[in-house]
């Protein structure tokens, strides 16, 4: 009986940690942990989640309880993992899978590499930049320039992500790189307007997950998480703007 409670806790807290690390909303982390623990036989579950940590208390029938907290430091964005953990918790609640199998699958989800490698993601980022330039009524050359700027920003992300840098450094440097590509292309070939190139280049830096989670956390009533994620989105935008402004100011001087 004693081992059971710890096993429940291990499974539930790992599912919460995986969700929070990969950019899930606060209420989804809390509810998934509660569902997983209840499906494994816990009598009572209380959870508390903030953007940087997970707290979970599980009670069993005899009244014993166990509390664990996990600090989440390196957050990434991987919506595929969130969808998979979501699916896993649904299967666990419907009793289509037992606890041991679920734990193995969860460990596999937490470790596996998903998504595309560097070259395809650079092309994807390039399409975001080029598409944005098309929406800005840019010409063919500006569109190609925006493609190059956005792809360079993605390459920068590849370098910076390995250095585990300070928050907002990447966004600042990304804004600088996008503006640099625009300015250099404009100086070499004056036919290319720099504006559309820079607009396309900063588009992959838009903090999509932070904005979405801020809105959805506020709707769910998690005001603390909602505000801090809104602040994250605002500071990210400011960092990108500062990067662009510095290059533009230096260029015009």
């Amino acid at each position: 009986m004693k081992i059971l409670l710890e096993e429940i806790m291990e499974l539930a807290i790992l599912s919460g940690e995986v969700l929070l690390k990969n950019g899930a909303e606060t209420y989804r982390v809390e509810e998934t942990m509660a569902h997983v623990a209840k499906a494994c036989g816990a009598a009572k579950v209380e959870s508390f989640v903030i953007p940087t940590g997970v707290f979970l208390t599980v009670n069993d029938d005899s009244g014993r309880s166990i509390t664990t907290m996990r600090r989440v430091k390196n957050r990434t964005i991987n919506l595929d993992r969130i969808a998979k953990v979501n699916e896993l918790s649904r299967r666990l609640v419907d009793r289509r899978i037992d606890r041991k199998d679920a734990y193995g699958i969860l460990k596999h989800i937490a470790r596996e590499r998903t998504g595309f490698s560097l070259a395809p993601s650079m092309i994807a980022a390039g399409f975001v930049g080029g598409g944005t330039a098309v929406l800005q009524n840019a010409g063919v050359y500006e569109t190609l320039g925006a493609f190059a700027a956005a792809a360079s920003v993605r390459y920068l992300a590849h370098i910076v992500s390995r250095l585990h840098g300070v928050q907002f450094t990447f966004e600042f440097l990304g804004g600088m790189v996008a503006a640099l590509v625009g300015v250099i292309l404009h100086d070499m070939l004056p036919a290319i307007g720099r504006d559309a190139v820079i607009i396309g280049g900063i588009m992959p830096l838009v903090p999509g997950v932070a904005i979405t989670n801020a809105i959805r956390d506020v709707i769910a009533g998690d005001l603390l998480s909602g505000l801090s994620r809104g602040l994250e989105a605002a500071l990210t935008s400011v960092a990108v703007a500062m990067g662009v402004v510095i290059v533009l100011a230096t260029h015009s001087w």
Binding site: R81, P120, V134, D195, I199, M203, T212, I219
Partner: protein, 153 residues
């Protein structure tokens, strides 16, 4: 012709954002359709004389409604459809113009463009907020009237 080109661009933007944010590959097409629908409504509103803020509000209402419907229908998190849906609406051009005016010392135009950017971004956020809230109220109303007891969300 140019409209077709822009729709293709929006499709590519949404799908590529989906790849960058690593949404499940089988859902990329759905995410792109949400983005195209939202951008189409925004462009249509602008075409018939609606302002930039109004147009983006309507576009993001479409994003919220489509994402919640798809999330319920496909049993996947709604964020998968919301993020690729609203990225084509993000006022990147206005944000850049704000920076340019500020660097050039044209502060009056800069502040006015800044307000335009912030209000547009706010309209997008508010559109998603309002449509998700109304959708949930609607769903709760249906389940409640079906079950004849208090729904527990």
């Amino acid at each position: 012709m140019i409209v077709v080109l822009k729709f293709a661009a929006v499709f590519l933007i949404s799908a590529s954002i989906g790849i960058l944010y690593r949404i499940p590959r089988s859902l990329l097409v759905y995410a792109s359709i949400v983005g195209m629908a939202a951008w189409g409504i925004t462009a249509l509103t602008k075409e018939y004389g609606g302002g930039l803020i109004m147009a983006n509000f309507f576009g993001s209402v479409i994003v919220g409604l489509a994402a919640e419907t798809l999330a319920r229908y496909l049993k996947k998190p709604a964020a998968i459809f919301i993020i690729p849906g609203f990225i084509p609406l993000v006022p990147g051009g206005e944000a850049y113009t704000t920076m340019l005016y500020m660097v050039e010392g044209r502060y009056v135009e800069g502040v006015s463009m800044f307000m335009r950017t912030v209000l547009t971004a706010g309209a997008i956020a508010f559109g998603i907020f309002i449509s998700s809230t109304i959708y949930r109220l609607f769903i709760n109303y249906i389940t409640e009237s079906k079950l004849h007891n208090v729904g527990k969300n």
